[in-house]
């Protein structure tokens, strides 16, 4: 069953179009990996899907309250402990316990550590654990595996697979291969926005210049 449908979407960054004519659908139990060189617009696209910025054109249809977004930065509070950080998000999303998350991301023995005292990879793992406590079916992830070691990447792959099996879906931008066979890959290069002269979509101000 369909979780997210995007129709001929155009996204802007800093006032001018970055990607255009983008259409895809994401079904339950499936994962879609966004590929593309640095600066093509992955983050921008994901932020738009997350509703953080308005789309320039096209439609995004997704049932309300289904999406959990994880950005480049994990939104951890340095002075709170790992457990406290997770508890906070758990109660924001109104889901109960954090034990499952702690175990899946193997953060048990770090649970009482202040987030500030975690290493880069440990932080990242905590950031991913956050996803698990949201209990949302659609995951939108921006480079989730940054600075994870091989073991942790595998761990993450497991988590995603489990999520998909339980009827969830995932949309993620990465540069590395996660070894997810359920995942289909979408290369963004072809959707790079063209200049208006070559029939590309026009950004806010060009429009005004009509």
């Amino acid at each position: 069953m369909e979780m997210l449908r995007v129709d001929n979407l155009a996204v802007t960054r800093g006032g001018l179009p970055v990607l255009e004519g983008l259409s895809f659908t994401l079904n339950a139990g499936h994962a879609l990996v966004l590929r593309g060189p640095n600066g093509i617009g992955k983050t921008t696209l994901l932020r738009t899907l997350a509703g953080l910025q308005p789309a320039l054109a096209g439609t995004i249809s997704m049932p309300p309250e289904t999406m959990a977004y994880a950005a480049h930065s994990d939104g951890l509070k340095a002075t709170l402990s790992v457990a406290e950080n997770l508890h906070f998000w758990a109660s924001v999303y109104g889901t109960g316990s954090i034990d499952g998350a702690l175990d899946q991301m193997n953060l048990r023995q770090l649970a009482s550590r202040a987030a500030m005292s975690l290493s880069a990879g440990q932080k990242r793992r905590l950031g991913l654990a956050r996803l698990l406590v949201t209990g949302r079916p659609v995951w939108v992830l921006d480079e989730p595996t940054v600075s994870l070691d091989a073991a942790s990447v595998a761990l993450f792959g497991e988590a995603v697979r489990a999520h998909l099996q339980s009827g969830g879906a995932a949309l993620m931008a990465t540069h590395i291969d996660l070894g997810l066979d359920e995942a289909s890959v979408l290369d963004l290069a072809p959707f790079k926005a063209r200049a208006p002269e070559d029939g590309g979509i026009t950004g806010a101000f060009d429009e005004a210049f009509g």
């Binding site: 006032g15 926005a193 200049a195 950004g203 806010a204 101000f205 005004a208 210049f209």
Partner: protein
């Protein structure tokens, strides 16, 4: 055709370029007439002596300072509601003019106050609330300067202008209350209002007020055109970089 067509930059550029020369000439005429008349050909007033001549620069500037903020409020609203870029840019263009008008009113007022009240500055309600208006101008311009994404800046300054206007009004009443509360002897500024000015002052005053208004319009058109171009330039540069 609806008035909103002028909100299209191209249309605006066309129209403004046609209007601009005439407005500028007119404003120059009015200001010169008004001020020359006021400066050279007005009699001394009983209670003001020759300082009455300050009236012709002080009142217009003060009036403009207040009304320019009102105009900014309107244009900001138009931007926030109808998202016409020109409107936002007009507000941006107007702010410095308003600030300068405020400074002029402050300076002329202070200079005038020296002989009249024996002090450069008095914490009189009107003066004080005027000073506060100046603060709002400063904040507004500072905010425009601090944000580099134009649309973000337009939105935020717009919101600031809204909230600011409300509090500017509030402050005006607060200040009145505050200073009556300290029964401080009322200033001579009442003169202006209660007894209608003698025509020999009235006519040149009106002329120079009109002059100031036109001067504002001239600058506004000029600066808005600049802002539009700057915005266009920014967009082009960005696209070039992207390509």
């Amino acid at each position: 055709m609806s008035i909103w067509e002028y909100a299209n930059p191209v249309k605006f550029m066309k129209t403004s370029s046609m209007v601009l020369p005439w407005v500028s000439i007119l404003s120059a005429l009015c200001i010169v007439t008004g001020l020359v008349w006021g400066f050279f050909f007005t009699p001394e007033a009983a209670n003001f002596g020759s300082t009455v001549k300050v009236l012709f620069v002080h009142v217009p500037s003060a009036t403009m300072a207040i009304n320019i903020w009102v105009m900014m409020l309107v244009t900001s609203l138009i931007w926030l509601i109808r998202r016409h870029h020109v409107s936002a840019l007009a507000a941006k263009a107007a702010a410095p003019i308003g600030a300068v008008m405020t400074i002029i009113a402050l300076v002329t007022g202070a200079v005038w106050g020296q002989p009249m009240w024996g002090t450069w500055w008095e914490w009189d309600p009107r003066l004080t609330s005027f000073l506060i208006l100046f603060l709002f101008y400063l904040g507004y311009m500072a905010l425009w300067g601090a944000i580099d994404n134009p649309d973000t800046a337009a939105d935020l300054t717009g919101v600031l202008c809204l909230v600011g206007s409300v509090f500017a009004l509030l402050s005006r009443y607060a200040v009145k209350f505050w200073n009556q509360g300290l029964h401080q002897d009322s200033t001579i500024m009442k003169v202006g209002q209660d007894d209608p000015l003698d025509p020999s002052y009235y006519v040149p005053l009106v002329i120079s007020i009109v002059g100031f208004v036109l001067f504002f319009v001239t600058l506004l058109l000029l600066r808005t055109r600049t802002e539009i171009r700057a915005r266009r330039l920014k967009a082009l540069e960005q696209r070039e970089r992207m390509a």
